[in-house]
Amino acid sequence: MTRSTWSAYRRTVVSVVTYGLLTLAFILGVVWFFWPDNSRWEPAVNSLTLVAGLSGIFVERLTAEAERRTEVLRAVVDELQENTRLLNDERFSPAAPTTRQVYPRLVVSAVDLALVSGALGLHRDAELVGLLHRWRDTVHLFNRRLDLTEISTFSNSISPAELAGFHRALHRENSYFAATRAMLQNLLRAIPQA
C-alpha cells in the first residue's frame, strides 16, 4: 500500500468509525425512548456520542488537510500548464526570426507556495516535494539564462551571426531549454490527479 492510498484509507476508516458510532448511539437513543426502564441506556448513548465526537475532530482535520492539498496541487498543475504554454510561445519557437527580443519568464509562485504551505505531507509527498524543489531551481536557472541572453543580444556590438548563434544554442537538442521542457513534462506526469 502506497503512502498516498494509506492516507486516503485512514481518512475513510476514521470517518466510518465516527459515523458508525453516531448511528449506533442514535439507535440506542431510540430504543431508550421506547424502553426507558433500563438505566444502562444512558451511559451507553453518552459514551458512544463522546467517542464519536472525539473521532469527529480527526475526521474534520483529515478532511481539511486533504482539501488544502487538493487546492495546492490544483494550483501547481495550473501553473505548470501555464509554463507549458509559455515554453510553447512563438518567441521560443525554432521558426522564430533570429532577432533580439524579450522572452517570457517561467513562473514558480504556486510551487513556492506549495512548498512553504505545509499542505504536502512530509512522508506521503516526499518524492513530489523533491521534484518541486528541483523544478524551482531549474526555473530560476532558466530565467537567469534568459536574462544573460537578453543582456548579450541587446548589446550594441552583437553581429547577426552571433544573434543566430543564440537562436541555435537555445534550440540545440541538449540545451538547457530542452532539459527544462523535459523536466516540466515529467513533473506534470508525477503530480497526483486531484
Partner: protein
C-alpha cells in the same frame, strides 16, 4: 629466391637496443634550394623599414648556430614571455584536452620548438592511443633533433613511433605533399596538427600560411594554434611589444644568429632595432631589423661567396612577430574557413601593472567537420 627486405623495415630492430644517439629524419627538400632562397632573400632591395633584405621565418632556426642560440634564449630566465608561455600552455591545454583526448589522434607538430609543449600533448594523447605517431615537422634538422629529445627521452615516447620530417611548411606544394604522405601513413585516423609558440606570427603573410595549412586538414583533423594576443592596439602598446623582445639579451643573440651563421657580417647588437607598429588596425607587428646606421656603406659576404652592398640606412629584417587581437584571429579563422572548437585566452601576470599581452590557444576544426563554433551562447545554454 627471396625478395630483399627494405632497409627501413629492418631499421627499427637494428636501432632497438642501440644506445648510440641515432635519430631518424625524413628530408623533404633539397637543402641547396633552401640556401639559394636564403641568399636570394638577403639580396633584396634597399629599404630603411625592413621590407627589403630579410631572413624569412624558417631560416631563423636553420643550422646549428641559430638552433643553439634558440636553445639558449629559451633557457634564459630573463625571457619572461617564454617562461609565462610555457606555464600558460599547460593551463590552456588542460581545458582543450577533452576535445582531442579520445579521438585516437596522431600528432603532427609544425615548428617543433623546444619540444616541451609536444611532450605535454603526447603524454596525454598516448594514454588513450598507445599506437599514435609523433611527426614533428621543421625546416631545421638541428631543431628537429633537439626538439624531439624532450618527448622521447623526457616522456619516454617510443622512438619507433616518431618520424621527424625536415620540410619548409610555408611552401604550399610542400604542405600538399606532406598531407598526402600523412594520409597514406595514418589512413582515415585523425591527426592533431599543432602550430604553437606564436609560430604563425613569424610569417610575412600569416593568412597565407594558415590557409595553406588548412588545405591539408581533413574533416576529422584538428589544428591547435597558439598565438600571442593583445587587448590594446595603439602605438604605445606596439612599442611595449617591441620592448618585450628587446629586454632579453639571449633573444637578441638568437635573432642575429642566422645572419652571423650564414654571412660574414660583423654584428653589433646596438644596430639591431626592435620596431613595433599597428598592422591593419587589428594586430601589433614587431619587426626586428639590423640597420646600417654607420657613416659608410658595408659589404656582406653571402653563403654563395658573393657579396652584397649595404648602403647607409639599409636594413635586414631578422625576425617578424605579431600580437593578435581577437578581431584579427576571428578574421583569420573565418577567411581560412576554420571553426574554433574552443579558444582559451589568458593575460600575462608577471608585471605589476595590468598587461595587455597574453597568449591564446585555439583548437580549430575545418569547416567540413561540421563542428559548430563554441560560443558565448553555447556556454549560456549548456546544461
Amino acid at each position: 629466391m627471396t625478395e630483399p627486405v627494405p632497409v627501413i623495415r629492418k631499421l627499427e630492430r637494428a636501432l632497438a637496443d642501440d644506445d648510440f644517439a641515432w635519430s631518424l629524419l625524413l628530408v623533404g627538400e633539397d637543402q641547396t634550394d633552401k640556401r639559394t632562397t636564403l641568399t636570394g632573400d638577403l639580396r633584396g632591395p634597399f629599404s630603411t623599414s625592413g621590407d627589403g633584405k630579410q631572413i624569412t621565418s624558417g631560416f631563423s632556426y636553420w643550422g646549428i648556430g641559430p638552433t643553439i642560440a634558440w636553445a639558449n634564449a629559451t633557457n634564459d630566465p630573463f625571457y619572461l614571455v617564454m617562461k609565462a608561455g610555457t606555464e600558460s600552455f599547460l593551463r590552456h591545454w588542460r581545458k582543450l584536452r577533452p576535445h582531442v583526448e579520445n579521438g585516437g589522434f596522431h600528432l603532427v607538430s609544425l615548428g617543433v620548438g623546444t619540444g616541451v609543449k609536444d611532450r605535454t600533448i603526447l603524454s596525454d594523447l598516448r594514454r588513450q592511443n598507445r599506437e599514435m605517431y609523433y611527426i614533428p615537422v621543421d625546416m631545421s634538422s638541428e631543431m628537429l633533433r633537439m626538439g624531439t629529445l624532450e618527448p622521447v627521452r623526457g616522456a619516454r615516447f617510443p622512438l619507433s613511433q616518431v618520424l621527424p620530417v625536415q620540410l619548409d611548411f610555408s611552401i604550399a606544394d610542400n604542405v600538399d605533399e606532406l598531407g598526402q604522405m600523412l594520409g597514406r601513413l595514418v589512413g582515415e585516423e585523425p591527426i592533431l596538427f599543432t602550430l604553437t609558440g606564436n609560430t604563425l606570427a613569424n610569417f610575412e603573410s600569416d593568412e597565407e600560411l594558415l590557409s595553406t595549412l588548412t588545405r591539408v586538414l581533413r574533416p576529422q583533423d584538428r589544428l591547435l594554434l597558439e598565438v600571442a594576443s593583445t587587448t590594446r592596439l595603439d602605438q604605445e602598446t606596439a612599442d611595449a611589444a617591441a620592448d618585450e623582445y628587446h629586454q632579453t639579451r639571449a633573444f637578441a643573440e638568437f635573432v642575429t644568429s642566422a645572419l652571423r651563421y650564414n654571412t660574414d657580417l660583423k654584428i653589433d647588437n646596438e644596430r639591431v632595432k626592435f620596431v613595433g607598429e599597428v598592422e591593419d588596425d587589428d594586430a601589433l607587428l614587431v619587426k626586428i631589423l639590423w640597420q646600417n646606421d654607420t657613416d659608410s656603406e658595408l659589404r656582406m659576404g653571402l653563403p654563395d661567396h658573393t657579396e652584397v652592398v649595404l648602403p647607409i640606412g639599409d636594413t635586414i629584417r631578422l625576425y617578424t612577430t605579431r600580437k593578435y587581437s581577437t578581431t584579427r584571429l576571428k578574421r583569420l579563422t573565418e577567411s581560412c574557413k576554420l571553426t574554433p572548437v574552443e579558444a582559451i585566452q589568458s593575460q600575462f601576470r608577471y608585471t605589476r601593472r595590468p598587461n595587455p599581452f597574453g597568449l591564446e590557444l585555439l583548437l580549430l576544426a575545418p569547416e567540413a567537420a561540421g563542428e559548430a563554433a563554441h560560443s558565448l551562447a553555447d556556454d549560456i545554454w549548456a546544461t
